[in-house]
């Protein structure tokens, strides 16, 4: 009972802080302040996911948040060419937003009891799949098509980013984020091995415990970015054959295993009896490599002119 009270007050503090930071991020005058507020928001959000019992999501949120941070910090605060909304317009917007939020709140509070859930159905086949983590089962078995296509979404975004280059250097390496300094150098030499081990761990336990390819891939991408910021590794050329092969590997392996399912056991993205776990791990490994690379390349941006040293 007391633990319940304790938890409830903790949740309340978390929620209030979360909303305060969000409000700050929306209303801050300076773009910079808004960005920092948002980064803090991302961390608190990961906590919220833990409180909601979704550790897989919390890990993803934290990992993606970590990648979003440099992206946002590096983003331009270009004010745009439009006139800002006039005060009455803002007031009207705020009123309608409040109305929508209020309606949603009514719906949330009147949620049906007992809540509908697919948890039972999702757990039942876990034994046959030899998986311990139901979220992984959803991502790579029940709704594997979503996951496959979501990697395609990321790939499309990457191609979209690549297409923003100048014609003459779009296959070259992106502009290097390198800003070497002794402490960064030290960090870049010490952290990546640790990060890689943690990533492998996340990937490996993903089948049975919270963790999985996205979390691992994000970590690897972050390590890669660190290496490049320290100037230890130059960004790869986008027209490089190995790079392209690695980018394609994940979705290609996923697709190939999916299509092989047509032959055996006879359905797209179905796994033969007893093969589910190994195949899922193969897919996850291939996807980890590709997604890590894609995320990293997205952060690096389009190809750029080589510095005329």
């Amino acid at each position: 009972m007391r633990a319940g009270m304790m938890n409830a007050s903790l949740d309340a503090v978390l929620v209030v802080t979360l909303l305060a930071v969000a409000l700050f991020s929306v209303l801050a005058r300076q773009a910079r302040a808004a960005v920092i507020g948002f980064i803090a928001f991302g961390l608190l959000l990961a906590l919220a996911w833990v409180r909601l019992g979704a550790v897989d999501v919390a890990l993803t949120e934290a990992a993606i948040g970590a990648l979003t941070a440099p992206l946002l910090l590096g983003a331009s605060a270009f004010a745009g060419t439009e006139k800002p909304a006039s005060p009455p317009l803002r007031l009207a917007l705020a009123a309608l937003c409040a109305l929508i939020a209020g309606t949603l709140a009514v719906i949330v509070l009147a949620a049906p009891e007992p809540a509908p859930s697919l948890a039972m159905q999702a757990v039942a086949p876990l034994g046959a799949l030899d998986l311990g983590n139901a979220v992984t089962a959803v991502l790579l078995a029940y709704r594997a098509l979503d996951t496959l296509l979501e990697t395609v979404v990321v790939l499309l975004a990457l191609i979209g980013i690549w297409s923003l280059a100048h014609d003459e250097n779009w296959r070259d390496a992106p502009a290097s984020p390198a800003a070497p300094s002794p402490p960064l150098d030290l960090l870049a030499r010490v952290l990546p091995p640790v990060g890689l081990v943690v990533a492998m761990h996340l990937l490996w336990v993903g089948a049975d415990a919270p963790g999985g390819k996205f979390q691992a891939a994000t970590l690897i991408a972050a390590m890669g970015l660190l290496l490049m910021m320290a100037g230890l590794t130059p960004p790869p050329a986008l027209g490089d054959a190995r790079l392209r092969a690695l980018v394609v590997a994940g979705p290609a392996v996923f697709l190939a295993i999916g299509l092989a399912g047509f032959l055996f056991p006879g359905s797209f993205l179905a796994y033969p009896d007893g093969w589910a776990k190994p195949l899922i791990i193969v897919i996850e490994m291939a996807l980890t490599v590709s997604i890590a690379l894609m995320l990293l390349l997205m952060l690096l941006g389009p190809g750029a002119r080589k510095p005329s040293a």
Binding site: A22, L71, G74, A75, A105
Partner: protein, 109 residues
Amino acid sequence: MTGASLFGLAACVLIGLGLYGVLAHAAPLRRVLSFNLLGAGVFLLFGVAARRGAAAGLPGDPVPQALVITGIVVAFAATALALMLLRRLTALRAAERAADGLRDDPKGR
């Protein structure tokens, strides 16, 4: 009020805030930030549904949790694409301004 409902209400506020921000701000970066708040609110709503659907020994319904993971990755891709577009736009506009500045003819434009 259960913990899930509390987070549910937080999600509603976030959605309201995010919507307001993305529509009221003129600067693209602020819009993208607000869009992410909006997205976070929507994901939290899924999280609440997952939490309320806890059963079979799981802390939550795994299906919405998986949907959120997919959604987060998609939102990140969107953010990255938007910010890269913004970066390119800024560079081009700056180049335009520089070119305008270089133009000597005071009557030109």
